[in-house]
């Protein structure tokens, strides 16, 4: 099964661990994140976006889910966007997630490494990060609105943020 899907207009699609998805306006792409990072790419003029639910920083030849690793997710998203007629020129990025769940003594704290990997890869590809909400110790629910490019970030017990 492909880990990248294109939503129909007006659908809200959940993007699970290791998945990527594309949507045109007015589609919505959402994900619930802990230490994983949600990488949203958006083309404002063409009103099309993509969201990846990145689990780990580097693939090192592992796994069949391209969205699972930062270094495979970004190229995969760019390829899928291009297939959908969206050029990389004009794309902007927003990122969220990378929490240190259960505090620093918790199991396998990978959030910081995920954030760093995504930021480094975007810089190499010259894709500008125009907003981010990362770190902390709480999970996030993120929703990319492909009509506007807004990324809604919800954290339990905190006011909603729009990036």
């Amino acid at each position: 099964m492909s880990s990248c899907t294109i939503t129909q207009p007006a659908q809200k699609q959940n993007v699970g661990m290791g998945q990527t998805a594309l949507a045109k306006a007015p589609g919505l792409l959402c994900s619930v994140l802990g230490s994983c990072v949600g990488l949203a790419l958006y083309h404002p003029r063409l009103r099309t976006g993509a969201l990846a639910h990145i689990v780990l920083p580097t693939a090192s030849g592992r796994g069949a889910l391209p969205g699972k690793f930062a270094d495979t997710a970004l190229p995969h998203m760019l390829t899928e966007l291009l297939k959908a007629g969206i050029p990389r020129e004009g794309l902007v990025a927003k990122i969220a997630g990378g929490a240190c769940m259960f505090g620093v003594s918790g199991p396998l704290q990978i959030g910081d490494s995920n954030i760093e990997a995504v930021q480094t890869l975007l810089a190499k590809e010259n894709i500008r990060i125009i907003a981010k909400d990362v770190g902390g110790q709480k999970g996030r629910r993120v929703t990319l609105d492909c009509s506007t490019g807004e990324l809604l970030v919800e954290i339990a017990g905190h006011p909603k943020k729009v990036l």
Partner: protein
Amino acid sequence: MMRNRTRPCRTDLEILRQLLASATHDASAAMSRWTDGLITLTLDEVRELPLDRVCSELNIDDSLLTMVVLSLEGELGGEMILTFDEENGRQLAASLLGREVNADPEWSELEKSALTETGNILACAYMNAVTRLIDHELVPSAPYFVRDFGASVLEQALMVQAMTSDAVLICRTGFHREGEQLNWHVLFVPTEALRDRMGDALHARV
């Protein structure tokens, strides 16, 4: 390092299910003593699920849950998560403390303590059963109380398995109060090394 793991066959999962059913029996007895006979447990399922569909398959979505998380450190490790919805978590805490259900949105330290102790009791009962099987002592960490999106917490619990595989093994236990199913669960996510060790021990027995 990732290695290509052979997917567990139906027989392996059935053997694991038998072990965990036995551990659940012990945990149920401990829980019954802790709650004065009010609450019992049954093993719902032992499944291997694709990583990208695990939350949807388990119906763990973006709802806010109250959870107690315990970790087993080391290679033979894993995560155990006790999950409640808000109402059920409050009710359990109230019944353990012999009080009315607290209407304050903030959980008191006493309520948190009642739930974390419940997590401790369950985890120790499970780990004692697994320890006996594999002849290696498993000691859970101090319990961690958290209120968060269920999927966020499960994601973290799956992280060690996700490093080596695109599929994860999950054991889910349900709770009953006087025969009525409650919206509480225990999720046990063993590491690959622990599940292999359990499998080897069980195969040696049969």
